[in-house]
């Protein structure tokens, strides 16, 4: 997929300036920058969640997204939390649950899972969608260090296995290095990619 962005504004305030971004299967990008610079806005444009911008988004890749929070359906069990959004069958959902280490938790509701388990369920859901490109919006930011490291390693392994591309939004360069992602720094006002 390829984004040619000319500008993105909220009211009179221009947040993002001219920038180009392209990613395909197997490629990993990390968008870095301080809080409030427009990283998440850029990811929302890529995800098709924000269409109020000037520019062009091309590509027919299958997308999946991991959000800052787990964003699960509290009224459905773990398996249904994968089958309903992705449309996959229950067997595939169970396979992905065991892939992220949640075997035995299939019939539990999100509230019965710890925060770390909820995040792994969200990761399983994203991969069960069979994405060409996985979009991640600071998925490890609110986790403790040990859980974040485990999640990062798990994400890396699953990306390797499925061959999916990834766009990671983060403020932590170490996460980008661990995932082996090409780091793009957002800076300035309106924000553009900065040369290192």
């Amino acid at each position: 997929m390829r984004l040619d962005l000319e500008a993105k504004s909220f009211g009179p305030r221009q947040v993002l300036g001219t920038l180009t971004l392209s990613v395909t299967r197997g490629e990993r990008l990390a968008i870095l920058g301080p809080s409030g610079i427009g990283k998440s806005t850029l990811l929302r444009i890529l995800a098709g969640l924000d269409r109020q911008y000037q520019g062009q988004l091309q590509g027919a890749e299958r997308l999946a997204m991991v959000f800052q929070e787990a964003v699960l359906l509290p009224w459905r069990d773990a398996v249904a939390n994968i089958t309903l959004p992705t449309g996959c069958d229950a067997t595939t959902a169970r396979d992905w649950l065991s892939e992220v280490g949640l075997e035995g938790h299939e019939t539990k509701f999100p509230r019965q899972l710890s925060v770390g388990q909820q995040r792994r369920l969200a990761l399983a859901r994203a991969f069960a969608a069979g994405p060409d490109i996985l979009l991640m919006d600071e998925p490890f930011a609110s986790l403790d260090a040990a859980t974040a490291a485990r999640m990062l390693a798990l994400t890396d392994a699953l990306l390797n296995r499925t061959g999916a591309g990834a766009v990671l939004v983060t403020h932590d360069p170490a996460e980008a290095r661990t995932l082996g992602a090409l780091a793009l720094h957002l800076g300035g006002c309106p924000a553009r990619f900065q040369k290192d």
């Binding site: 459905r76 019965q112 710890s114």
Partner: protein, 260 residues
């Protein structure tokens, strides 16, 4: 995983409810014994005997059944229309701007006016009766569902959008579960309002049903009969609330209480 403590207070059971009903019966008995004219306030057992006579004669089932049918039909109509309108107005700002004045007018038109106009315009028939009741209830359901729709979680909307969930799946698995408390509230508030309006509709223009019987008894000032019909039907509506609506509400809210 964290262990949550069960801090819910123990349930009081049926004792307070039964005691308060008994207290009301005692009060009624005392008042009926103290009054000079027994026909203005008959004793509870006289009313109970009348209910038994009505039930054994079959009259209660025929007229009660007709009233119940009208309650069910107008309830279904009001809930369906109110939910569709409420969802639409909660989701679309434009729809809300256009429909809100009409909604406010309908909320403030007296029930009696709607009933009379329906009978005049449509005729003294079942359609007019059911429509008149539903029209009285639709605005209330619409407002409750609209407020619920405005409070829907945007993050779940984003998730559904990224994963390209179909509109029907979204409605069923994302929107309706979030609206469940509002729907249950509208249903329970609605059913009691609806049966009261059904009685007025029957009083004014039907030839059967509890409201029609009360009309007849009113012309002969038969308080015992009025109380017998009213209490018999209150019992039916309480049973519906206890055995149908509350269990449905509990089932819809089950996931909230399932924390380990």
């Amino acid at each position: 995983m964290t262990q949550t403590q069960n801090s819910r207070p123990s349930r009081p059971g049926l004792v307070p409810g039964v005691l308060s009903v008994l207290a009301m019966l005692v009060l009624w008995t005392l008042a009926s014994q103290l009054t000079d004219r027994p026909q203005t306030l008959p004793a509870p057992w006289e009313v109970a005997a009348r209910i038994l006579r009505l039930a054994s004669g079959g009259e209660l089932w025929l007229n009660g059944g007709m009233t119940l049918f009208r309650v069910a039909a107008s309830f279904a109509l009001a809930m369906a229309a109110g939910m569709a309108l409420g969802l639409w107005m909660g989701r679309s700002r434009a729809a809300d701007h256009w429909l809100n004045p009409g909604l406010i007018i309908l909320l403030n038109v007296p029930a009696l006016v709607v009933i009379v106009l329906c009978y005049i315009w449509i005729g003294l028939n079942e359609t007019a009766a059911i429509l008149a009741v539903a029209l009285n209830k639709i605005p209330v359901v619409t407002v409750m569902i609209r407020e619920g729709t405005r409070a829907l979680r945007p993050d779940l909307d984003d998730m559904a959008c990224v994963f390209r969930m179909s509109p029907l799946t979204r409605l069923r698995h994302i929107v309706l579960p979030q609206l469940a408390p509002h729907i249950a509230g509208a249903a329970r508030a609605g059913i009691s309002l609806i049966w009261k309006i059904v009685l007025v509709v029957e009083f004014l223009g039907r030839s059967n049903g509890v409201g029609f019987k009360i009309h007849l008894l009113f012309s002969s000032f038969d308080v015992e009969g009025v109380l017998a019909w009213a209490l018999a039907f209150v019992a039916v509506m309480l049973a519906i609330d206890l055995f149908l609506l509350r269990p449905a509400e509990r089932r819809a809210n089950r996931w909230r209480q399932d924390a380990a």
